[in-house]
Amino acid sequence: MDLSYSPEEAAFRDEVRGWLAANLPADIRDKVTHYRSLSKDDHLRWHKILAAKGWSVPHWPVEWGGTGWNITQRYIYDEEFGLAGAPSLAPFGPSMCASVLLRFGTPEQKQRFLPRIRDGEDFWVQGYSEPGAGSDLAALKTRAERRGDHYVINGQKIWTTLGHYGDWIFCLVRTDSSAEKRQEGISFLLMDMSTPGITVRPLILMDGGHEVNEVFFDDVKVPVENLVYEENKGWTVAKYLLGHERMGSGAVGSSKRELAALKALAARELKNGKPLLEDPRFRDRLSRVEIELDALELTSMRFLDKMRRSGQPPGADVSMLKIRGTEIQQAITELMMQAVGPLAQPFVAVEGGAVDPLVSRLAPRYFNYRKTSIYAGSNEIQRNIIAKMTLGL
C-alpha cells in the first residue's frame, strides 16, 4: 500500500496550483471565499480563461477539446479548484448537456453546440424538476406537441439553477401522454431561452439569494432538429446522465479550505477570554468533522485507485461521497455560523460597523447549504442507490 500521489501526480498538482495562483482573477476568488454570488459575467469570464488554457472541459474526448487526463488527474484538478477558491464551472453545459450530446447527439448537433459550450459562449441550464416531479422525475408533465417541423411546449420547470443566466436550456418534456409506462413518452429537447413564450421567475431562497428559478413555457416553438436522440426515448438519456455523476461530488478540496477558514475564525473568536478553538465542546465537534473529512479524502482516493485498476466508472460509490461530502459541507457552515455566536444575527453587514462584513454572510450561507443534501439527487435518493446497487436490497 502507498497512500501518496506519484511524483508525476504531485507535479501535475503543482502545475494546476501554480496556474490557478497566476490566472484566477482575484475578484472572482474573493467572491467565492467571501460567500458572495457570481454574476453571469464572472462565470463566463472564468470559463473563457479556462478555455484559452485548454482546461474548460478536461473530461471530454480529446478531439472535442478534452485534455486526455486520467481520472486521478481530473480529481486533483477538481480538488485544487476547491483549495484555491476557484469556482467550478456550472456543470449544466460542460458536464451534463455535453455528455448527452457526445453520447446521443447527431454530428450536426455536436458541431453546432459543443464548441460553444467548450468556449463559454453560451450559458446552459437544466430543465428537469417540475412542481410535481422532483426525485420522482418520471412524473413530469411539461408537454411538447409535434406540429410540422416544430414542437410546441407548454408547462413549467422549477429549481432551475442560474436559469436567469441561461442562454440555452435542456429539458425533459412529455411527447406522448398516452404511453403505458410513465418513463416512456418523454423526450430530451434543447431550447434557446430567447424563444418567445419562455418566462423566468426568480425563487428567492431563505438566505436572500437569487440562485434558482421557475421557468414557464407558453406555446414555445422549438425546431425538431433540437430533439436529442429519439422522440419518446428521453428517459434513456436522463438515466445516462444520472449515471454520469462526478468523483468530485465529495467536494474535498473546498471543504479543506473551508475547514481551515473555520479554524482561523474559531481561533479569533473569544469565549471567556480564550480562543473558542480551545473550548472542548466546540473543538470536539470541529475535530469530528475534520476526521470525517480526512476519511472522505482517503475513501475518494481508494475509489480512484479502484477505478484506475478496473477501468470501470465509479458507479454507486459516488453516492457515498455525495452523502458524506454534503454532510461535511453542512457541518462546516453550521459551525462557522455558531462560531460567531450573536454576531450571526444581522442579515447584511452593518454599514460602518465594527464587525468583519464576512461575519454577516455566515448565517445565510448556513441556510443556503441546506440545499446540498437536497440537490443533485437528495441524500435519501443516494441511499436508495447504494441500497439497490451496492447492497442488493
Partner: protein
C-alpha cells in the same frame, strides 16, 4: 497511490482467513472461550507456523521486518472470527516493546520464543484509577543490589493468566517510566484472573516485593514512555484493523438477515427505513476502513511522533464512532434474535463495544487529536 494488499500480504491473510473459517467457527470459538485457559494452544501455534508472530519483528531478530500494513488483513480476519487469543497484545504491544527497547541479549533470549509461539507475553500497563494514562504511577521499581524490587498493581492485563512473562511498566525513583520483563510466576506476584465481556482472559495483578535481576530492565531506565506510547499507537492501529473485520461481519450478517427474515409476508429488506440504516452502517464501515488504513500506514512511515499520534487518534475516533453505530444497529436490525447469546452478532456487539474504548475511547482521542493542532 496503491490501496491494494501485496501478493504476500494477501496470501498470508487468505491462509489465516481460511484457517479461521475452518478451525475457528463460532461453535469452536465457544468451546475455546469456555475451556479452562480460555485460549487455544493449537490456534496459537498454527498462527506462529504461518509466520504471523514474526511479521512485524526486525529481520535481524528472525522476523520479516514488516509493519502494521502487513498485519492489517490478518487482523481483519481475526476481527471477523472474534478471535479471543491475545494476538494483538502479543505482537502489537509486548513483542514490539521487547524488539524496540530490548538489548541484543534480551532480544536473542525472547524473540525466538515469540516467533515460534512458545513464549507468551502480556503487557501490564493499566493501573486502577488511571484510565488510559500510559505513565505508571501505582507500580514502582526500586534498586536493590544489582537488581530491582517491584511493588504495586496493574489492572485488566489482557492475556496475563496465559502469559509466561509480563512486560511491566513501573515508575523507578523519580525518573519516570521503566519497563521490566518479569516471570509471570515469580514470587510476590498475585494474579486475579477474570473473563472479559468479549470473551478474552485478563487479570488484575499485585506485585509485592517482586525481586528482579539486573537484566530484567528493558530499555532505558526512566525513559520508556515514548516507547510505550509508540507501541500503544502501533497496537491501536492493529485494533482498528481488527474492528474493520468485526464491522464487516456485522454488516454481512445483518444484510443477510434483512434479505431472509420475513414480516408482513415480505422480506424486511424491502422496508426503506431499514435499507437506509443498512446503508449508513456500510458508509460508516468504509469511512472507518479508510482511517484504519491511514493509521496503519502512519505508524509504519510517519516522520515524527506527532504525525503518528495525530493519525492514530483520528482513526480511533472514527473507529469508535463507527463501531458503536454499526454494532448497535446490527443488534437492532436483528431484532430480539440480536440480543441472544446464541447468535454471533451479540458477541460481535460486545467485542466492538470494548474495541471502542480500548487504548482510549473517542473522547480521549478527540482530546489528543485536538492537542496536536
Amino acid at each position: 497511490m496503491n490501496f491494494e494488499y501485496s501478493d504476500e500480504q494477501q496470501q498470508l491473510a487468505d491462509s489465516v482467513r481460511k484457517y479461521l473459517a475452518n478451525d475457528y467457527s463460532f461453535e469452536k470459538r465457544k468451546a475455546i472461550v469456555h475451556s479452562p485457559s480460555g485460549c487455544s494452544d493449537a490456534v496459537w501455534s498454527t498462527l506462529a507456523e504461518m509466520g504471523v508472530m514474526a511479521i512485524a519483528l526486525p529481520e535481524a531478530d528472525g522476523g520479516f521486518g514488516g509493519g502494521a500494513i502487513d498485519l492489517m488483513a490478518v487482523m481483519e480476519a481475526c476481527g471477523e472470527a472474534l478471535m479471543v487469543e491475545p494476538l494483538l497484545d502479543q505482537i502489537g504491544l509486548a513483542a514490539r516493546l521487547v524488539a524496540r527497547a530490548g538489548s541484543a541479549a534480551q532480544r536473542a533470549a525472547r524473540l525466538p520464543g515469540v516467533i515460534d509461539g512458545s513464549l507468551k507475553l502480556a503487557f501490564a500497563g493499566l493501573e486502577p484509577g488511571r484510565r488510559y494514562e500510559l505513565a505508571p504511577q501505582a507500580t514502582r521499581a526500586r534498586r536493590e543490589g544489582a537488581g530491582w524490587v517491584l511493588d504495586g498493581e496493574k489492572c485488566v492485563v489482557i492475556g496475563a493468566p496465559w502469559a509466561n512473562r509480563l512486560i511491566v511498566s513501573a515508575r523507578s525513583g523519580d525518573i519516570g517510566a521503566s519497563l521490566f520483563i518479569v516471570d509471570a510466576r515469580a514470587q510476590g506476584i498475585g494474579m486475579s484472573p477474570c473473563r472479559t465481556v468479549d470473551g478474552q482472559r485478563a487479570a488484575d495483578i499485585k506485585f509485592t516485593g517482586v525481586k528482579l535481576d539486573a537484566d530484567a530492565l528493558l530499555g532505558p531506565e526512566g525513559g520508556a514512555l515514548p516507547l510505550i506510547d509508540e507501541a500503544v499507537d502501533f497496537a491501536t492501529a492493529l485494533l482498528c484493523a481488527e474492528a474493520i473485520g468485526a464491522m464487516q461481519y456485522a454488516n454481512d450478517a445483518t444484510l443477510e438477515y434483512l434479505k431472509t427474515r420475513k414480516q408482513f409476508g415480505v422480506p424486511i429488506a424491502s422496508f426503506q427505513v431499514l435499507q437506509h440504516r443498512m446503508v449508513e452502517m456500510y458508509i460508516h464501515t468504509e469511512q472507518a476502513r479508510s482511517m484504519a488504513i491511514l493509521a496503519a500506514s502512519k505508524v509504519d512511515t510517519a516522520g515524527d511522533a506527532a504525525e503518528r499520534r495525530r493519525a492514530v487518534s483520528a482513526a480511533k475516533v472514527k473507529i469508535a464512532d463507527a463501531a458503536r453505530q454499526v454494532s448497535q444497529e446490527s443488534v437492532q436490525l436483528h431484532g430480539g434474535m440480536g440480543m441472544t447469546e446464541e447468535l454471533k452478532i451479540s458477541h460481535t456487539f460486545r467485542r466492538l463495544t470494548m474495541i471502542g474504548q480500548r487504548f482510549g475511547d473517542a473522547d480521549h482521542h478527540l482530546e489528543r487529536y485536538a492537542s496536536l493542532g
